[in-house]
């Protein structure tokens, strides 16, 4: 990789790169994204390497381990180009057949293609799969086709073109105007207008200025930012460099959760490549502009997703938030003006500059522009990452893209926004999703987690889950959050143990009012959303726990009873081996019995039983 000395040099390099590449060369693109890695994508890629070698195809066929292909339900996914054939549930055993049939003979391996669960119709090509049809990928556009460790791949798809335009044709003010005009709002949750944030920072007369990329994706159930950092790291860097040029920053930091080791190493490599080729460092592309980026690893604290807490931890302190104003744009890292945006926001910037603010502003709704990436998970058939224009309805996302609920179960709720969001019931399925509409029904956009729940989820348990999560993660600095969460958790535990009273619901709402009014940071202020939304939309479920001592979803342990059906039990003793407290007894090949006094209701026997003989009531 050369060091680009000028814009023309870069342009010429790209021209030569494109001339060298043959669009018809066969490519095997193995997904190594967050969904496929745990299902063995490394083994699949290794099998391809070996098989291509064996067949003398190693030089002819390009093999890449890419970022997320989107449809995680079909992990491990493989994309074959140029035909755009997608295979799913691929294991290393399938590889010889794919090489033989598809790569050598040009045929489709039927048994590995997508099959519609309802119509049984097969779809071998990406464009025919319903999951991809309603999507508009901007941030995810390159993820399934580039090798995230190759700068050439990024350049070949127009990478660093936005930076080129920003440095060559635009003044800092023009860039901020463009971002402002595009209507881009922060994708981390709050939805603050990005252009306005940059302007505030630019106008502060203080030096040096800093840029931070918030990659502390802590919301459980969300993995958009992980997929982007791992799958298209240069897009994040390019966005940050453009932002730094616009506000006049000389140093940037990417704050990544330590739970994402692959994201850290991919970004590190991308930074080194960018330095080597002159996109980072002194005198970027000979424009006279200096800027460099460092990675800062998080140390495992959810509250550090909050910008002031994040900044404190980067300064070497514990991650406690501080009251705003002053906002980081005025006084941030080391007391200096700092623009902090999340990963997806930064990844949108290069395309906005490249294709223009008008292009972006034409996508989405009146107040929410562009697209949003969601991690669609939970009880839907087609789980994965989706990117849709703002204003797409929940129904479209859950049913058209997600293929409806597993086993055609009844939809109960969709949870958005992580622990700071709420549970949205079926009556709002036709709600167009944007920042403001989600807020109007008691949830938030958050970073983009979208967890679909069916009737097997208990909403009291869901509320308790989030409150317990936040209770563990609250930094403890301010009383409303620290004590409020503790009291709400105590009440929820009473309800779950069958000791709840109806007055408890009002009491929790009262605590919520105090917390949202008086907490210092977003963690405490929005911690009330899981409670408020579940009480408002699922009051009956709370009442069933309180009045009837029943959890109809069969989730809340203390209200359950596990028994063995003597008719179905084969006496295989799988449950006996699993039971941690020795509560199950009986002779081999005879029906077993659970001692209710000893049973801790952990459910291990239920899961271990292959014959569905363990019953819950």
């Amino acid at each position: 990789m050369p060091r680009f000395e000028s814009i023309d040099h870069l342009r010429e390099y790209r021209r030569q790169l494109m001339a060298k590449r043959d669009a018809n060369q066969p490519q095997v693109l193995v997904c190594a994204g967050p969904g496929c890695l745990p299902m063995g994508s490394e083994e699949v890629a290794a099998a391809f390497r070996e098989e291509l070698e064996k067949n003398g195809l190693a030089a002819k066929v390009v093999l890449k381990e890419c970022g997320c292909h989107g449809l995680c339900a079909g992990a491990v996914r493989v994309l074959i180009r140029p035909q755009e054939i997608t295979y799913q549930h691929v294991t290393s055993e399938d590889v010889p057949e794919i090489v033989e049939k598809t790569l050598k003979e040009g045929q489709v391996v039927d048994r590995l293609v997508y099959e519609d669960l309802h119509t049984q119709e097969k779809a071998a090509y990406k464009k025919d799969i319903p999951f991809f049809k309603g999507q508009m990928p901007i941030v995810l556009r390159k993820l399934d086709i580039i090798d995230p460790t190759s700068l050439d791949d990024y350049l070949a798809l127009g990478g660093y073109r936005g930076l080129r335009k920003a440095l060559m044709e635009m003044k800092p003010d023009d860039i901020i105007d463009a971002i402002d005009h595009s209507g881009l709002r922060g994708r981390g949750g709050g939805g603050f207008p990005t252009g306005r944030k940059w302007r505030i920072c630019q106008e502060v007369e203080d030096e040096p200025k800093f840029i931070i990329c918030n990659g502390d994706e802590g919301d459980p159930g969300a993995f958009m930012d992980r997929a982007v950092m791992e799958g298209d790291p240069h897009a994040v860097l390019e966005g940050m460099i453009i932002g730094a040029f616009a506000i006049g920053a000389s140093k940037g930091y990417i704050y990544v959760r330590h739970e994402y080791p692959l994201a850290v190493s991919r970004l590190q490599l991308a930074i080194e490549q960018a330095r080597e080729s002159g996109f980072l460092g002194k005198n970027i592309l000979r424009s006279g502009f200096d800027f460099d980026i460092k990675i800062s690893r998080g140390a495992g604290a959810f509250v550090c997703g909050e910008e002031t807490a994040l900044i404190h931890s980067m300064e070497g302190n514990i991650g406690e938030p501080s009251p705003r104003p002053p906002y980081p744009a005025q006084s941030g890292l080391f007391g200096k003006p700092t623009v902090i945006n999340n990963v997806e926001t930064w990844a949108n910037v290069p395309e906005i500059i490249n294709l223009g603010a008008d292009w972006f502003a034409n996508i989405g709704t009146e107040k929410s522009k562009g697209t949003k990436v969601f991690s669609l998970v939970g009880a839907v058939n087609q789980t994965g990452l989706v990117e849709v224009p703002m204003g797409t309805t929940l129904r479209q996302i859950v049913y058209d893209l997600g293929g409806g609920l597993r086993q055609d179960r009844e939809f109960k709720a969709v949870q958005t926004g992580g622990p700071s969001g709420g549970c949205i019931p079926a009556q709002f399925l036709d709600l167009p999703v944007d920042y403001d509409s989600l807020q109007s029904v008691g949830s938030i956009m958050g970073s983009g987690g979208m967890i679909v729940m069916d009737t097997s989820s208990c909403m009291v348990d869901v509320a308790r889950y989030f409150i317990n999560f936040l209770y563990q993660e609250s930094c403890g600095k301010c009383t409303p959050c620290r004590e409020g969460l503790k009291q709400i958790l105590f009440i929820l535990d009473e309800i779950i143990h069958g000791r709840g009273q109806e007055e408890h619901l009002g009491l929790m709402e009262e605590l919520c009012n105090a917390m949202s009014a008086a907490s210092i940071c977003g963690l405490g202020k929005s911690a009330v959303n899981p409670i408020r939304s579940t009480i408002k939309y699922f009051r009956e479920e709370y009442l069933a726990h309180i009045r009837d001592k029943k959890c109809h979803a069969l989730v809340c342990r203390p209200l359950l009873k596990y028994t063995v059906d003597p008719e179905t039990c084969t006496g295989c003793l799988a449950c006996v081996r699993e039971c941690p407290v020795g509560a199950i007894s009986g002779k081999k090949k005879m029906a077993q019995e659970i001692d209710q006094e000893l049973c801790v209701k952990c459910g291990l026997c239920y899961e271990a039983c292959q014959f569905e003989a363990v019953k819950i009531e």
Binding site: G221, R226, G316
Partner: protein, 150 residues
């Protein structure tokens, strides 16, 4: 105390107080915990009081003041994993290893922890052993996974 090992870590940084967390992270990675004697040296070098180091070390979840096992098991308890019964996976591991969540086995082979979210939600429940992910980990898969590391 293994001073040369610590020096290698410290030499990567400029010795400013803002380097505290990265230095502690490197020590945690290299030693699998934060040894007391090493922290005294860090305190002197970075000019950060030991009380602040203690405060940081106990605030963030990645740090441990006691040695961790050879293999680190992390069970995801993110929302999707929770809904799909990750607590049962954690309980099964705890039962099989004979150790509570948050602790290390006597033979120092395994540390068992739960984490907020590993970001592989589509394959819930997910667990990690060291840097390797395991998806759709039902209770019956637990013994097979453990066997890989025994």
């Amino acid at each position: 105390m293994d001073l040369p090992r610590l020096e290698t870590i410290l030499s990567r940084y400029e010795g400013e107080s803002a380097d505290l967390i990265p230095v502690l992270q490197d020590i945690q990675d290299a030693y699998s915990y934060l040894p007391k004697e090493e922290l005294h040296v860090v305190s002197e070098r970075l000019q950060v009081p030991l009380t602040q180091i203690y405060s940081v070390a106990t605030f963030f979840k990645m740090f441990s003041l006691i040695p961790k096992g050879k293999h680190q098991i992390k069970v995801c308890t993110g929302t999707t994993c929770h809904l799909k019964g990750s607590h049962r996976v954690a309980e099964s591991l705890s039962h099989r290893l004979g150790v509570e969540v948050g602790y290390t086995t006597k033979d120092m082979q395994f540390s068992l922890d739960t984490v907020g979210c590993l970001g592989s939600c589509a394959q819930a429940p997910v667990m990690m052993v060291d840097d390797k992910y395991f998806g759709r980990t039902t209770v019956d898969k637990v013994p097979k996974i453990l066997k890989l590391y025994k």
